[in-house]
Amino acid sequence: MKELFAILIGAMFVENFVLSKFLGICPFLGVSKKTSTAVGMSGAVVFVLVLSQAVTWLINEYLLKPYSLEYLQTIAFILTIATLVQFVETVLKKLMPALYKALGVYLPLITTNCAVLGSALIFVERDYTFVESVVFGFAAGLGFTLALILFSGVRERLETADIPESFKGMPITLIAASLVSVAFIGFAGLVLP
């Protein structure tokens, strides 16, 4: 239980996927314009992350390891993630059309969210058990949510700020992102990853 809690806090704050590991920057910059879309996107990412962690762990353990095919991890994981995202999309379209509409193009884009593949490759590297890797995926998703919501707040403020012409748009966004990232260094050493 203690280890799981350490993984949870570690993946959320100390090695926050977006702000410390710099994974999943594309949706971080793309969807953080409004807090409402940021929340929807984070929800979808958490869901896909947990599901993909479970499935990829099983594939890695029972298909790849017995034949020592670890070099196929990347391609097998990508295949799994793409399928899962497609599956989530189909299910959402049927059961929750409102959420499906709100997420729009960002739902299929989770396929290429490197945070999802990144967390799959990290659990292999660290030899996590099934439960540990699922908790790790969940925590990574929560960390992504935290970063996205924090940053969407920053960006909503930036909208009304008087910014020099040459910094308008992406430049000031990148600078703000780096400042938020620097703030997360404060968590380093809280828990040993």
């Binding site: 034949y67 391609i75 097998a76 295949l79 399928t83 379209k93 049927k94 008087d162």
Partner: protein, 267 residues
Amino acid sequence: MDILIPVSIISGLGLAFGLGLSYASKVFEVKVDERISKVREMLPGANCGACGYSGCDGLAEAIVNEGVHASKCPVGGIEVVNAISDYMGVDEGSIDVKVARVLCQGTCSNVEQKYDYDGMESCHSANALAGGMNACSYGCLGLGSCKRVCPFDAIVMEEGVARILEDKCTGCGNCVAECPKSIIHLIPVMSGFTVVCSSHDKGAVARKNCKVACISCQKCVRVCPSQAIAMNDNLAVIDPTKCTNCGECEKACPQKCITNSMHRRLD
């Protein structure tokens, strides 16, 4: 022979996932009326919301399911309305194409300033400070709030006054709703002459505040052969349904605040 195991594992995974997905798509199939997607393709796709629905998808659904007329979309113009009406088999009806016009000429050289505004680039915020920095409290603040909501890049700021490029304007009305001074109006495109002033101040006050304000001298009212101009609270207003575009009012106006937008469209 070693190569067979990885190849079969990966292709087996792919096959299993593929079959699973095709099964899922059958189980979770959503029936979509094909007419909706056809109508959706015909709409302009700007998602400006001028029709009052949530984007073009919303209007397409309403056209097919609720029998809403295609002329709800002011952006596509007559071609789009005709195409959709043909497809749905309903009467084409008539639409009057409208464009937005900014009823103000209070450029920096024409209007006095009450104070130096140095705040956020937003007309709403300037308007909150004693009604803005212009001496004329009715005029354009020139901070471009309308320009930012225009989905068609049809608004330019010139000398502190918004100007609408009428060949780009589609009459979606986003700027009309945005302007805190309510000086942007949707006017039928065929009506060339407009009183480009919104000041309801009395003549002397209006003249003091702005060089090109309507001073309610009523010369245009008297000269108009078709009685299309009326005074409304110290401001001349042209009724586009009566106006014949004769141009007498433009010649008569001593303040040069009646303009012919037809000329502007040409140059």
